[in-house]
């Protein structure tokens, strides 16, 4: 991650690494109604950390927490829920629920309201709405296995923006 260290909220990378593989009871994960987690899942379910890189695991989870926080102040986000019969989707869902819970513990500055995903070298490197601004925080690169709206590849970045008015 680059950007504001304060955005880490004093939570250690070790703890964050643990979150990404932590266990929720399956029933809890299935039935838990959590709009923030649904946004985290909808926005990031196709992303994976870099293989054998605990720092990447922690980075991805921190980015998910920021997305969870932002989802409460910006409605232009995508929400989705997993297929409970799909074990891979359920792993991503559990990470999303954990990120939502962690986001309750700390708040980003109120004017951190936007984020953008980009596969390096594909499409515009930043959205028009961010023109002239440097990201508040940058996470990645991650592996995008989901394809679809962001091209598949190993160089997916998440950019968090502050002060877009």
């Amino acid at each position: 991650m680059t950007g504001s260290p304060s955005a880490q909220g004093g939570i250690s990378n070790e703890t964050r690494s643990g979150w990404a593989t932590s266990e929720l009871e399956p029933a809890q994960a299935n039935t838990h109604a959590d709009p923030r987690a649904e946004v985290v899942y909808g926005e990031t379910a196709g992303l994976r950390p870099q293989p054998n890189d605990p720092g990447s695991v922690a980075d991805l989870q921190t980015a998910r927490e920021m997305i969870a926080d932002i989802s409460e102040r910006n409605p232009n986000v995508y929400s989705a829920r997993p297929n409970p019969q799909n074990p891979i989707e359920m792993v991503m869902w559990r990470d999303a629920v954990q990120a939502s819970r962690a986001a309750q513990q700390w708040d980003l500055p109120a004017d951190v309201r936007h984020f953008f995903l980009n596969q390096a070298g594909v499409g515009p490197p930043w959205p028009t709405w961010s023109y002239g601004r440097s990201p508040y925080a940058t996470f990645g690169p991650f592996v995008n296995v989901g394809g679809g709206d962001v091209p598949r590849g190993g160089w997916t970045y998440i950019y968090i923006y502050r002060g877009v008015r």
């Binding site: 232009n76 995508y78 984020f115 959205p127 709405w129």
Partner: protein, 175 residues
């Protein structure tokens, strides 16, 4: 709307019309390239002659037949992006004015429906944006047609007397 028009006539203000409006070549060219703007500051130029600019922008509105516009399509679908940016510019210079219409019974798909109906299930805007992908979801054609008509009617009634001023948030004109 008829009442407003009657008041304008009583005040000696003629209703605005798109016919014969937007004749300035420089302004026309600016509006034709409105999709090339890089931020809100670029749109401030339109506020120097807002009624003429609004006429130019409204005249270039038309039905967009591509339901999902991705950032990488800007070169290939310039005409569609020009429509979206014309609406963004209109919203910007009218402090966020937005028109909506019934989505009808069109099949929209999961993501398109989710973004277009975020504020209301009964009425959709011309377009909605997935922030993190900068992907534009476009309303069904019947809704587009209605919204274009609403902009034209608005201009006829208020176009020359409207108190134009810029939107203060991207949320009010971009998304």
């Amino acid at each position: 709307m008829m009442v407003t028009a009657a008041i304008l006539v009583a005040l000696g203000v003629s209703a605005s019309t798109l016919d014969g409006a937007c004749t300035d070549g420089q302004l026309q060219a600016y509006c034709e390239n409105v999709a090339e703007v890089r931020g809100a500051e670029d749109l401030d130029h339109l506020l120097e002659r807002p009624a003429d600019a609004a006429a130019c922008l409204i005249k270039q509105l038309h039905i967009v037949r591509t339901p999902v516009l991705k950032p990488e399509d800007r070169g290939r679908l310039r005409d569609d992006f020009r429509v979206i940016w014309s609406l963004r510019a209109l919203r910007y210079m009218t402090h966020g004015k937005n028109f909506v219409a019934s989505p009808g019974s069109a099949q929209l798909g999961v993501k398109r429906r989710q973004f277009l109906t975020k504020r209301s299930k009964e009425e959709v805007p011309f377009f909605a944006v997935w922030m993190s992908r900068d992907i534009i979801y476009v309303a069904p054609e019947a809704a587009q047609r209605s919204i274009i008509d609403q902009w034209k009617r608005w201009y006829e009634v208020e176009g020359h007397v409207y108190h134009y001023r810029e939107a203060t948030s991207y949320d009010d004109w971009y998304f």
